[in-house]
Subunit: 249 residues, 2 copies
Amino acid sequence: MLAPMRTVSAKQQEIREREQTILDLAQAMLLERGYLGLSMDRIAEEVGVSKGTVYQHFVSKEDLLAAVAVRSANTRAELFERAATFRGTTRERMGAIGAAAELFFTLFPHHEQAERVIKSSSGSEKITPERSLSLDTCVFRCFGTATGVIRDAVASGDLALRPGQSVEQVCVGLWNLYTGAFLMRDLESHLNIPAVTDPMPALVANSQVLLDGFGWRALSTEHDYESARLRVFEEVFPTEAKAAGLLPA
Amino acid sequence: MLAPMRTVSAKQQEIREREQTILDLAQAMLLERGYLGLSMDRIAEEVGVSKGTVYQHFVSKEDLLAAVAVRSANTRAELFERAATFRGTTRERMGAIGAAAELFFTLFPHHEQAERVIKSSSGSEKITPERSLSLDTCVFRCFGTATGVIRDAVASGDLALRPGQSVEQVCVGLWNLYTGAFLMRDLESHLNIPAVTDPMPALVANSQVLLDGFGWRALSTEHDYESARLRVFEEVFPTEAKAAGLLPA
DNA sequence: CCAGATTCCTGACGGAATGTCAATAAATTG
DNA sequence: CAATTTATTGACATTCCGTCAGGAATCTGG
């Protein structure tokens, strides 16, 4: 009874572990050599299996990339959800989500590139539908947690939206600010402009400016959000922040 | 004397025109079928020349893509520079640059994708250095015009930067907001969230909110920037705005 | 108008990568 | 332990990028 069960698990676990190994490798190759440098043959070789076996895990190169993206996207959603539990004012909780986004983009620099390749048209149709759905679900979860905090702010009176403004607009504004900044980091960091070469400080500052523009209390002129940000790293993401170099080890 | 000259020009002009034809085709194929769907063989076939001839214009597929991007990037810089000449307050002129960005992203939806592919590492080294430089120069020109307007605002007192803030930070903030929004349009527009499906209204609103956050006078609560935006389309970009569907034909 | 020089064009070819599949090996089950 | 199901292999078809030797077209000086 036990022996065959164990044997079953043994094989199945070997397969599951190999899948993670492949994902790790693909992630590293993507980051190092880009989409074109990611070769299915090389992955098979380095993992020590034949190409056919790799294709039993993932139906195409794009599908493998999507699987890499799904793994990090899940982590992002978890980071966001943990951030939203930060005990503080609504605006501090929003800042915590910003800190989570910072962490994510620092710890998983490959993710943006993976997502860009996947969604670049004519790649999507070669991806398992479930994986495609998983990716969307992760984004939904992130949007959901963020809009939840924004809704709390509206309910508590910290944030008074003007006519025509919506929680979605606030959420999309922050989202765009962040993704834009990390796109810049990936594409234009060689330009010799201080705020471009190192976009993180400007990003943190600009997100505060945006929230000030919405009139989300307490305004950044009335409160020290920089120390709140550090507290988030210390209290909610101690290990992650150290791994990202945002806190001293 | 005249005949040979004319023949020379005839040949050279044919070559120049062919280059534009190739660029047009590559641009269309990129937009329609994505990077993978852009095939050098198909381009050669559709233009009616051999592949070797295409490779005499562009040293690689990435180089061709870069040439496509250079052409649109130049147009963007010109749009920005024209926008900066708008007669109005400093903040209206900044809004004019935003309107130019809107136009650009509407009229050249391929550009972002081209730039993303090019800059995705391991592609850059297969591009002619001059073309690479041209691309950077265009971005510099855009940053330069934008920061120029911001500097004017500081000089005139419309914008009072707080300690630690810089004109570059303001510029990068707007830049990120816009590129983030257009990245979202390209990657996530299928998500069923209103502000995501149609990101333009939220983008225009959020850029005003950001400038309000910086305290750039006159604040959007004190002035009708929506009609200023329409005036920019009418007075500075009449033909372009009609082509983009942002003004009635 | 012509011959020699130069520039331009061609398409077959090498090389590399993706994805398939029939044959083979391993694992599971009764 | 035999039968069946599942997993693995690696050669193969296909596609695409980029090259290059040979040939066509164009230019130039007389």
